[in-house]
Symmetry: C2
Subunit: 461 residues, 2 copies
């Protein structure tokens, strides 16, 4: 163990006794755990540990509590706001060894998993049950990380976010006690909704060790379509009318002309480079056809220039693969750049206004900024491409971001639809929720009086 | 003001200055606010106040905080677990003067209301918008009360509970500060989910003064059906298969033979007195027909003895009116009795076991106990009919209830699917969630250090 490790040597010794070789302070390991896909400066932990059970997590927490050492739970490292960085050093608790499916209950359509499993691995293990876990944030994130940031993504418009799909949690509290936040009933009015309190708390209130998830029946039929528009307004109005019609659309994704250019470049496709909606429909064969026909009618009313179907699984998969890779496709527009990714979400009636004013800002900034959005929920992302060495460019990007968040708040929206606050949006949160942030602080102080659980995230104490 | 009022005279004077005649300690008013539809012994407040604005609520809270007086928010008085009783006396804050719809946003399918409005009044005011608020707990409860107990009811299987349908809250905290828990975006990952923390907290963390609700498009077509079975098992298996099929059924309600007898008696109907499912389907005309056909096929596979349609609005309305009156219909089976109402909810795979073992207990108890359930969610209610003067009968009823909750917990269920803990289920909650209740206490103590917000509910401090 290199001598620069800042963990108290007695604590370190206790951790090594507990975990043997599953304790590391190798530089490469620290670096891998101090950065994620965020554009933020990496902040390295002093140590990384790899527990394999709840009781090991419990022992780690007791040691950290005794010595006042920060603990940062870590999953797939796909978060975007420094949610799992270590600004105060401390111990990164890598959960990827805890990656089992513990129980699948077909009749109840739920399952219990360890937090380190990724969503794609979970879905592979659900193969043959007729059920799936729909939440799809793009990246192959861990279920623990998705729960902690209240993730959502392309399917949220139909299946909800992690808020709606986490049924219960096992959590190790800051004093080492283990609680379960609920039983396995589909609903409950039994006291405070601790499940929802932990979902989205970014590891600041405890470490998740088991997660019970709601599953959904695999749709009998699926079809998808790509639909370009000449005008942004028309695309957004098509979305609004689709939502109001009550059609339970499974996905409705917006990509702007610039992003379509990136996708064509990155995935070697030939889509029209216009504001475009990607649709997906789930249901019985007859109902999928009915939904698709109704949406096609709505799109035509709003001057869609085409409605290109992808009904064969391989075509659909190519389509969504292209969509899922927007981060890399966007970055392909400027090789060597990093992406500052924004995440505002506004009431859908304010989406046109928010997008159109943002475009004026983008033009003024002179930067390359593709846009992709889960527009059924009013959530969209700018990928502001910046040269990481160019401070002046980064300042312009930050200004663009600041102005957009201010705009989203003035339109009754939020600074983050799904990425969380992390270290990157602490000031935005205060502007968004005012004194409500004090209530969050009260809860944090009551539940983690030594401030060892992922300190420095969401708010300043 | 009668002299027996236990409120500090200076505080009382301040309240009268603030609210003039909207302060009462008349016996009839106190009695009306000390009891609800619960079977529990009434617990009267010392005073009832009728605020008309958030700032009045704020002033009331400041006065109560200064003098350490308990505050109990009160809506329609339809709760069932003593959730709004006043075991420590204090001030009942009757919210029924704050009953306005403040904003309806058609395009976003949401609205902002004051907490005193009832769900039926809200739906009447939504008339013409093409939208509705679906949550239907049977009683014409207030939206504030429904939010506070995390209510649900017959439509939850399709539209979710109050947890999924409250988008944001304005809350007066115990120190008189006013916060908003979220902006109006459909989803957000901005810090702790305070909205969900207050939903279901039964007024113990603050007083709700504004509620933003999600609305849903009125279905184009609706159809309903009544389907009796000879065997309970068959009815439950029909429910499980319907849920797994992914059919988005709008309601699927179970009534046992005894309850059907009560309904026939109370509503002068002639349904077969057998275990029965009531169904409702929402969607486009073609899709409603498809859903209904598929469910009819599933019911036939499970030996349903008939499938009686109610497609005309007046027939459907008669059907659901009968269902909504199960409380009174049940009580009609034993005039003069009161109903001890239970509320367990179990994973649906355990529903047959839970119901069948409960029936054995009912028979052994010798009591009349009709059953009604939101079985798509695994939630059902016994109406244990007791002579309120007969202590021995009440003890038998309590024993039946205790055993059933123990059974539900052993089947991974909850003691309350939708009524909340109130004063009636405090011990059950501890058995259900163990140390998690300590976390609730920590939060309560941090947010309401003087314990003035609906004290004595959910847990003991």
């Amino acid at each position: 163990m290199p001598s620069k490790c800042k963990i108290d040597p007695v604590a370190l010794n206790q951790l090594q006794t507990l975990l043997a070789e599953r304790v590391s302070s190798q530089t490469a390991i620290l670096q891998q755990h101090g950065r994620s896909e965020a554009y933020h400066h990496p902040e390295l932990p002093d140590l990384v540990v790899f527990p394999e059970s709840t009781s090991e997590v419990q022992e780690i927490v007791k040691i950290a509590s005794q010595y006042g050492i920060a603990l940062i739970a870590f999953g797939a490292g796909t978060s975007l706001e420094g949610n799992a960085s270590a600004p105060q050093g401390g111990i990164c608790v890598d959960m990827t060894h805890m990656n089992k499916v513990l129980q699948i209950n077909d009749a109840d359509m739920d399952c219990r998993v360890q937090p380190g499993i990724s969503r794609k691995t979970l879905n592979a293990q659900l193969n043959g049950t007729g059920l799936f876990f729909p939440i799809d944030p793009g990246a192959d994130a861990s279920i623990g990380g998705m729960s902690s940031t209240r993730a959502s993504g392309t399917m949220a418009v139909r299946y909800g976010t992690m808020r709606e799909n986490v049924l219960g949690l096992e959590v190790v509290l800051s004093d080492g006690r283990v609680i379960r936040t609920s039983r396995r009933a589909k609903k409950s009015a039994a006291g405070y909704d601790l499940t929802r309190l932990f979902v989205g708390s970014e590891g600041t209130l405890g470490i998740l060790t088991e997660i019970t998830l709601r599953l959904h029946p695999l749709p009998e039929a699926v079809s998808a379509a790509v639909c370009p528009f000449d005008a942004l307004d028309d695309a957004v109005n098509c979305v609004i009318q689709t939502m109001q019609s009550g059609i339970p659309i499974a996905r409705i994704e917006f990509l702007d002309a610039e992003m379509m250019r990136g996708i064509n470049l990155f995935s070697k496709l030939g889509y029209p480079e216009k504001p475009t909606l990607f649709f997906e429909f789930h249901g019985s064969p007859a109902y999928v056809e009915e939904q698709a026909q109704r949406v096609q009618d709505i799109a035509s009313e709003h001057n869609a220039s085409a409605f290109q179907w992808a009904t064969r699984p391989e075509d659909r998969s190519r389509l969504w693969h292209a969509r899922d890779n927007t981060l890399y496709a966007g970055m392909a527009l400027r090789p060597g750049a990093r992406a500052m990714i924004t995440d505002v979400c506004v009431p859908i009636s304010n989406l046109s206004t928010c997008l159109l004013q943002t475009y004026q800002d983008i033009v003024a900034s002179g930067l390359i900024v593709p846009i992709v959005g889960h527009v059924g929920d009013g959530n969209f992302h700018l990928l502001i491409l910046v040269d990481p060495e160019n401070q002046q460019e980064i300042a312009r990007a930050q200004n663009l971001h600041d102005r957009m968040v201010e705009r989203a708040l003035s339109l009754d929206g939020t600074c983050t639809g799904e990425h969380g606050i992390g270290t990157g949006k602490i000031d935005f949160l205060k502007n968004e929720l005012g004194d409500a942030v004090d209530v969050m602080r009260m809860i944090k102080s009551a539940m983690d009086p030594k401030n060892i659980m992922n300190p420095g995230k969401i708010f300043r104490l």
